[in-house]
């Protein structure tokens, strides 16, 4: 699996309240969440993300609440992948579960500038910064997580597993 796009950069401790403010959570429409993605810190984000971007961030990306609407908002806004020094664990799992690739990449915040063109090779955990001609190594995702992402998310994965008659294994 390979994704590419221009980098959009943020700092440390980007929380779910700024990714999608609570006032939009009464909606069940992903396109509404997408319209307000990152509204708390970057109201211009939905316009930038439309062409398909890769979010690059520092430590603890997605901290705060368990709202899955946060990664959903980013995904529907056009985010193809998120690279960060580290993630808040619920956000990390939520992203995988909705089929949005997330990779921990030590040092990534220093090795990417806003607007750099990135290609991410998910199976290898390798990032190529095409603009700088540099390779950045990420922590490779375990195979079972790659499979969930490849299937398009946990629900699709579960349906596949159940159809294959593997019972309750997820």
């Amino acid at each position: 699996m390979k994704v590419s796009g221009k980098a959009v950069k943020y700092g440390d401790n980007i929380n779910t309240d700024v990714i999608i403010p609570s006032k939009y959570l009464t909606s069940l429409d992903p396109s509404e969440w997408a319209r307000h993605a990152m509204e708390g810190i970057d109201p211009d984000f939905p316009r930038m993300a439309r062409e398909g971007v890769i979010v690059v961030a520092g430590r603890n990306f997605g901290c705060g609440s368990s709202r899955e609407q946060a990664p959903q908002a980013l995904k529907y806004a056009g985010v193809k992948c998120i690279l960060a020094e580290s993630f808040a664990r619920i956000f990390y799992r939520n992203s995988i579960n909705i089929g949005l690739p997330v990779l921990e990449a030590p040092g990534v915040a220093d090795k990417v500038s806003c607007g750099d063109l990135l290609t991410v090779y998910l199976d290898e955990g390798r990032i190529v910064n095409e603009s700088r001609g540099e390779v950045i190594l990420a922590n490779r995702l375990p195979d079972f997580i790659l499979e969930i992402i490849r299937d398009g998310g946990l629900i699709e994965h579960l349906i596949k597993v159940m159809k294959a008659g593997k019972g309750n294994e997820v």
Binding site: P21, G40, R59, N60, L158
Partner: protein, 422 residues
């Protein structure tokens, strides 16, 4: 093994696990509220199963926007009720019945020591106060739990937080957890379990333990846990049915690290805008004028919290121009506060007593902030925009500091009203 490792081993049918292992674990209880539940229900329906794995182990709580503040909220509530009815789920806590989900979970007997509990809300880690391993998950994952009753989990490293000494009134567990978060940082416990130990924890009430464990997620922790003791067993015995297992950490259990704190000289603390780890002694920020004082939330909306605030508010008036909101964490807390005359103290002081809800803390309804306003709050997050306008500012503090600040109209050290003179 640590208590966390033992619970994860037990729930995944293993004799031994170590940090880093991935386990496929059996869930004892699964909780969702009306913000995360409807999305989980949608996802569950996509799976195509007719029945949930166990209707008696699913707990649904309406709490974030109750009573419905908009037609959209009402629709979310309707989806939750319809699902409970279709799936024959007996534990749906509707408007007026329950309260804030985490308080409802512990108070109504849905949490027992040794259990593995998942909740579609980040503050699910609260239940560690009763010796359970409890962690927050998202909606899609909850749908998979509804379907299978199982979840994959990575066994976390455990960070021990050992606390000794005695609090000096009005310093409380909230001041301790703010202090710990200030030291550890907003991502200092990321992916880890925090185990609270020591004489201060043993002496602490269940209410205080719930406050400590509740805010572990603000350091990035997967969960927080306290070994069950007589107090915890008694609390559970009064509320829950059925057997449970009491796990304790082995004397030779391995901890990633141990942090030691002593609370003898701990002062009232406050987390300043806009991050939970921006923690200072209250006395350093005294004088910041406030527009709103909020007492409530899953962190500090329990009877003990209301009692502490009422001690300061009794016979006093809230400063003119400041509004104070009090939201008891549950119907049970509300009723107890009523019986003990606390609500009368609040009302006479000029506070607005609201029904149990996540409302103001979550920035959903009932007490949002306008641009430029400042709120001192007993809740758990002070992120930009958390309680309304992104141009508002939130200071997190203890119930005592909230009450003292409401009286003075500015951030105030509660020791000016209670305990030792400053």
């Amino acid at each position: 093994m640590t208590i966390s490792e033992k619970i994860l081993a037990y729930s995944s049918g293993k004799d031994y696990v170590k940090p880093g292992d991935i386990v496929d674990a059996r869930v004892d209880a699964a909780m969702a509220n009306e913000i995360t539940g409807p999305l989980a229900i949608q996802m569950f329906k996509r799976i195509g199963l007719k029945k949930v794995w166990d209707n008696r182990r699913i707990i649904l709580v309406l709490d974030h926007q109750v009573p419905a503040d908009s037609v959209k909220s009402a629709e979310l509530h309707r989806i939750m009720r319809a699902f409970a009815s279709e799936q024959n789920i007996p534990c749906l806590y509707d408007v007026g019945d329950g309260g804030i989900c985490h308080q409802v979970m512990v108070e109504r007997g849905h949490v027992k020591p040794g259990e593995l509990i998942v909740g579609a809300d980040s503050h699910t880690c609260t239940y560690g106060a009763l010796g359970a391993f409890a962690t927050g998950i998202g909606s899609t994952e909850m749908a998979a739990v509804f379907a299978t009753g199982r979840i994959w989990l990575k066994v976390p490293e455990t960070m021990k937080v050992d606390v000794s000494g005695s609090f000096r009134e009005p310093v409380s567990p909230k001041d301790l957890i703010l202090y710990v978060i200030g030291r550890v940082g907003a991502d200092g416990a990321i992916y880890r379990a925090i185990e609270f130990t020591g004489s201060t924890i043993r002496d602490m009430s269940i209410s205080g333990r719930l406050t400590l464990c509740n805010m572990a997620v603000e350091m990035g922790a997967k969960t927080a846990i306290i070994e069950p003791d007589e107090k915890a067993i008694q609390y559970v015995g009064e509320r829950a049915n059925g057997p449970f297992k009491e796990f304790r950490s082995d004397p030779d259990a391995r901890y990633e690290k141990t942090l030691e704190f002593n609370v003898d000289d701990l002062e009232p603390m406050v987390a300043c805008p806009h991050s939970v780890d921006n923690v200072k002694p209250v006395k350093d920020v005294e004088g910041v004028e406030v527009n709103q004082a909020f007492l409530g939330s899953c962190t500090n909306g329990r009877l003990e919290d209301l009692e502490l605030a009422a001690k300061i508010l009794k016979g006093r008036r809230i400063k003119r121009g400041v509004r104070m909101l009090v939201t008891p964490a549950s119907t049970e807390v509300y009723l107890q506060a009523l019986k003990r005359g606390l609500l009368e103290v609040f009302i006479k002081a000029g506070a607005c007593v609201c029904n149990p809800t996540c409302g103001a803390c979550f920035g959903g309804h009932m007490g949002l902030l306008a641009a430029g306003e400042i709120c001192v709050s007993s809740s758990n997050r002070n992120f930009v925009g958390r309680m309304g306008s992104p141009e508002a500012m939130i200071y997190l503090a203890s119930p005592a500091t909230v009450a003292a600040s409401a009286v003075e109209g500015k951030i105030t050290d509660p020791r000016r009203f209670l305990g030792d003179s400053m």
